[in-house]
Symmetry: C2
C-alpha cells in the first residue's frame, strides 16, 4: 500500500493557531472570570471577553510599533492578566513571545535577549531595577514596555524609550482580525536553564502549542473543565506555565493568577477567597503552603487536585496532601524541550481495588505518556530495554510537541535516530508507568553499578526531622563514586548522622547506603526552583577523599 | 504584520494518523482490557496489546488482497473487537474504512457500496442473509470477509469469494510498520441518512479524526480517563460511535462492546458484570435500560456518567437518570458532517451554587461548543443573531472536523461563506450555551411566527402516561401550519386528549398549544433510531383540513 496520490479527506482546512484558543474562549466562555493578584498587591478581575478585547488592542499596538511576523517580543513578568494578554496579543498576531525568567542574573538575561534578537521587552513594574541593570547590554531591543498604568511610570529611569502598557493599548482599537498563517510558524520561545554552557532556546510552533493544549487538558493529564477554578502557581515564564495559559481558556475554567506572592499565606488566602479547585506547581511552593496550613490548623474548602512537577513530589508531601488535606496529587513530568508535559501519574481502572499503600506506590511514579508522546528506555549503546519496571536506562521521547533542534541550531543535532534524549534515567513497567530513577548526570556509578539518588532522597525525606535532602555521588578511591547525603533539618529538630543512616536500614540494598551524611543550613537552588546538585558536587568533591 | 517567510517553530514534525492512537494504546496502556459480547452471545476479552497485534495482521492481509492507499473497505458490523480491529487495520494502513448501517434496506446498501466503490466488505455472521440479498447488486466489491472463525463459515452461500476473517488474519504476520503519510489523507467514510435524496458520503481525514479524538476526550466533553470502563452503545456504524473507538484507546480506559444485544436486560447485565462507568447512546436505548432497571428494582453499582445524543434527552429521562439512578447526564449534539461532536452540556463553576432546578435547566441545553468548533446563529438572510438565549436562528458551524464538501461533490457547494449550515434552529445565551429549538425543516410556521416542536414534545414527555411524543406541523387553512401532537401511551396507562392538553396550560404561550392530539401504537423510527417526522407529516397532512 504505497502513498500514490492518496485520496484526501474533505473536512474544513483550518490551521491550529493559539489566537483561536482565546477567540474560542471569548466567544463560548466569554463570562468566565480571570482574577489576578497584581504586583501592587490588589486583586484585579475581568472576563475572557475583556481579555480578548485587550489582547486585540495589544496586537494593534504591536503592529503600530512595527513588530513583524516572526519577530521576538520578550516578557519579564509574574503570572497575571497582562502577561496572559501578551501570550495571545504577541503570538496571535504572528510575532513570537519570548518569556524570560526574572530569577536569572542580569548578564544571563542580556545574553538571552541578544541571542533571541528581541525587539521589545514587556515587564512588570517590580522588575524595573533589573531591567535597568541589563538594558544597556541589549543590542536589539527597540523599546521597553512597563506593564502598568501611567501612574506607575517612574519619574526617572535610565531606560531609553520606556512605554506604558496601559497607555499603549488604550491608544488602539480592539478591531483586529487574528491573521491566519501556517500552523508550523513559531509561536513562543523559551530558554532552557542548562547547568552547563549557555542557555539554549526552544522554539515552539502554533501547532505544537495547540496540540499540547488539547493533550494537557485531558482527564488523564491536567483534567481541566468549565467547573474548575485553576490557579497556575508554576510561573508563566517557566515553559509557558505548563501550558495552562492555553489549556485553561480552552476549557472555559475560571483562572486565578497569584502574581509575585508565592508564600504559603498569600497562596492559601487567594485559593480560599477565589474557590480554587486545581493548581499546578513545583514541590517547593507546596512545601510553603502546606507548612502554613498545618501551622495554623487550616483546611482547604475547595482545593481538590494538584499536579506537581519540576521535580518528583516527595512521598511524605504526597501523603500529607492526600491524607491530611484530601487533595488528589498527580505527578507531572516533562521538560522545556517537551512544551513541557510528557507524562502524568494516575491509576488504571484495574487499580481501583488495590490498597491505599499499593495505590500510593503507583502514584509515586511519573506515570503514563500523554497521548501524542512516545517514549522508550535505552542502554548506553542505544539498545531498547524491556518494560519490566526493573530495567532502567536513558529515557528517550518523541512527539509533535517535542523539540527537533534548538533555536539557531545551538548544540547541533540533538536527536538520536529521531528520538530526543531527555537526560533522565528511568524504568517503565508492563502497564506503561514510567518512573524517573535519576538524571543521567546525577546517577552514581559505584563499582560499575548504578545507584539512583532519588530513591535515597525520598527515604531521607520520609524522616520527620528532615526538611530537604540531596544525594550526590562524590569521588571515592576504590569505588569511583559513593553516595553522600546532604540534609537540611526541620527547624527545631535534632537529628544526627547515625540516626538517619539507621533509618535507611532494610529500605535499600546495603551497598546503596550513603557513605556519609552532612548537615547544611540550606541547599543551593537554581532559577527554576530545583536543587543544584552540580554545585553540591563541587562543594563536596573532596569529602570522601580526606 | 504580513506573513512574509515566517520563522518556523522547531518541533518534531509528525503527522496526526489514527494508527498512532492504537500504537500509543498498545505501548502505553497495553494491559487495558477490551471486552466484547459477540453476536454468538458469548463474551470475548483481550488487551489493547492483542488488538494492536491483530490489527497489524489485518493490515498485512489487506495488503496481500491488493487493497491500495485510499481504496474503500466497508464494514457491516455491531460494536465488537473485530470491528475495532477493522477501524485501525483498514485506516491505519492507508485505506478508507467505510462503515455501513445494517438497518438500511438492501437497495440502499447496494447504492452506498457502489457509490463508495468499496473493494471489500467485512460483516458480522448475523448479517449474512442481508449481504446475500444486496451482494448481487454490488459492482466494485472483489471479496466479502465474514468476521468470524472457520467454524462459522456457511456450508452454502450465494456469495462469490467469501473469505473467513480469522483464517485471513492468522495467515499473516503481525510484523507491520504503520505507514506515515499526509495527515489530510482520507481515513473513514460515513453516509448521512438524509430523509430526502440519496445518502451523501462524509469523508473524514486522519487529521480531523485525531483532532476530534483529542477534543472529544476532554473533561468538558466525554471526559474519558484511564480509570473509566467505557461502553459505546452508540453503534460503530453511526458516525464512528461518536469517536469512542479513538478517544477511549487514547485514554487508556477499559472498553466494553455490547454487540447486537441492546435490550435493557442485556445492557444492564453487561454494565454490572464489567463495571461500566461511562456509556454513550441515543435516548431510545436508555429508555429500554431504565424501564428494565425500574421494573426490576435495580440500581447501577458502577455506572456514573452518560452522554446522550442523536436527539435531545427528554427532561423526564434526565431526571430519572440523575435523581433515581445517580447517573450524571451530559447532552451531546452533533452530526455525521461534524465527526460528529459539536457541543456538550455541562455547568460552569459559577453554576455550582444554583438550585437543582436551575442547574437542570442548564443541563437541558445542548451546551458549549467543543474547543475547535465555532458556531453562530443567523436569520433567513444570513445575518448573525445575538447570543441572548431568546433569539433563534439557523445554526451554522465551522472547524477542522466539519465537512467542507461531500464525497464526489454530491450536493455541490454545501458551505455558506465558510460555515456549514446544520439544518438546526437554535438559541445561544450570553454564557455560550446553545439550545436546539428545532430542525429547520420541523419548525412550525404558524401565522408568520415560528413554533419550536421540541419544547412541546418535552412537555408531553413529562406527563407520566406518555411513553413517546412527536409534534409536527400540519397544513391549516388560516394559519398555514398548526401543531399536532402524536403520542404513544405508556403500557397500561390511560390518557385522553383533553387531559394531555390541560397538562400544557401555563407551560407555553396559548398560540403554541397543539391544535389536536392523536394516539398511536408506535412512532416510525429511522435507521439511526430517530423518529421520522417526515413520515408522520405525510400521514397526518389532512388531519386539520378535514
Amino acid at each position: 500500500m504505497h502513498p500514490q496520490s492518496p485520496l484526501m479527506g474533505q473536512m474544513m482546512n483550518q490551521p491550529l493557531l493559539v489566537s483561536g484558543i482565546l477567540e474560542f474562549a471569548a466567544r463560548h466562555y466569554g463570562s468566565s472570570e480571570i482574577v489576578s493578584r497584581r504586583v501592587e498587591g490588589d486583586l484585579h478581575r475581568y472576563t475572557m471577553r475583556e481579555c480578548h478585547q485587550r489582547a486585540r488592542r495589544l496586537a494593534n499596538a504591536l503592529h503600530a510599533l512595527g513588530v513583524r511576523m516572526g519577530e521576538r517580543v520578550a516578557t519579564l513578568a509574574w503570572n497575571g492578566y497582562r502577561h496572559l494578554e501578551a501570550y495571545y496579543g504577541v503570538s496571535g498576531s504572528g510575532a513570537v513571545l519570548h518569556t524570560m525568567n526574572p530569577r536569572l542574573h542580569a548578564e544571563q538575561l542580556a545574553y538571552i535577549c541578544n541571542h533571541a534578537e528581541d525587539q521589545f521587552l514587556m515587564f512588570d513594574v517590580c522588575f524595573l531595577p533589573l531591567v535597568e541593570a541589563f538594558a544597556p547590554h541589549c543590542t536589539t531591543i527597540k523599546g521597553y514596555i512597563l506593564m502598568g498604568s501611567a501612574a506607575q511610570m517612574p519619574a526617572h529611569t535610565s531606560i531609553d524609550n520606556l512605554l506604558c502598557y496601559e497607555e499603549l493599548i488604550n491608544a488602539h482599537s480592539d478591531d483586529f482580525q487574528w491573521p491566519q498563517f501556517d500552523e508550523n510558524a513559531a509561536c513562543t520561545l523559551c530558554y532552557t536553564s542548562g547547568t552547563t554552557g549557555n542557555p539554549k532556546g526552544v522554539l515552539y510552533s502554533h501547532r505544537s502549542t495547540v496540540l499540547h493544549a488539547y493533550a494537557s487538558a485531558l482527564p488523564n493529564v491536567l483534567n481541566v473543565s468549565s467547573r474548575d477554578t485553576v490557579m497556575p502557581v508554576v510561573p508563566m515564564f517557566h515553559v509557558n506555565a505548563w501550558g495552562l495559559p492555553y489549556s485553561v481558556p480552552l476549557s472555559g475554567a475560571k483562572m486565578v493568577f497569584p502574581g509575585a506572592a508565592l508564600d504559603g499565606k498569600s497562596v492559601y488566602e487567594l485559593m480560599e477567597s477565589e474557590g480554587v479547585t486545581f493548581s499546578a506547581g513545583v514541590p517547593t511552593v507546596w512545601l510553603g503552603l502546606l507548612n502554613y496550613a498545618t501551622e495554623h490548623g487550616l483546611k482547604f474548602s475547595t482545593f481538590r487536585r494538584t499536579v506537581i512537577g519540576g521535580s518528583a513530589c516527595p512521598p511524605a508531601m504526597m501523603n500529607t496532601l492526600i491524607d491530611q488535606f484530601g487533595v488528589e496529587v498527580i505527578h507531572g513530568w516533562g521538560m522545556t524541550e517537551m512544551s513541557p508535559l510528557g507524562t502524568t501519574g494516575g491509576l488504571l481502572s484495574k487499580h481501583l481495588k488495590l490498597s491505599r499503600e499499593e495505590q500510593r506506590k503507583i502514584l509515586q511514579k511519573q506515570g503514563h505518556a500523554i497521548y501524542g508522546v512516545d517514549m522508550k528506555i535505552v542502554d548506553d549503546d542505544g539498545k531498547e530495554l524491556p518494560w519490566d519496571g526493573v530495567s532502567y536506562g536513558h529515557l528517550m521521547v518523541r512527539g509533535p510537541w517535542i523539540v527537533a533542534r534548538y533555536f539557531k541550531d545551538e548544540g547541533g543535532d540533538v536527536l538520536q535516530d529521531g528520538w530526543f534524549p531527555t537526560g533522565d534515567v528511568s524504568t517503565i513497567d508492563a502497564d506503561g508507568f514510567m518512573q524517573i530513577t535519576d538524571r543521567s548526570k546525577d546517577v552514581i556509578k559505584s563499582g560499575g553499578e548504578w545507584i539512583g539518588t532519588i530513591d535515597l532522597e525520598n527515604i531521607a525525606m520520609a524522616h520527620t526531622a528532615v526538611l530537604q535532602a540531596a544525594c550526590i555521588g562524590v569521588p571515592h578511591p576504590k569505588w569511583d563514586e559513593r553516595p553522600l547525603l546532604v540534609v537540611v533539618r526541620r527547624p527545631g529538630q535534632t537529628l544526627e548522622r547515625e540516626q538517619l543512616l539507621a533509618h535507611f536500614e532494610g529500605k535499600v540494598a546495603k551497598w546503596w547506603l550513603p557513605d556519609d551524611v552532612v548537615f547544611a543550613e540550606t541547599l543551593p537552588v537554581g532559577g527554576t526552583g530545583k536543587i543544584q546538585k552540580n554545585r553540591l558536587r563541587e562543594q563536596y568533591r573532596q569529602h570522601l577523599l580526606k
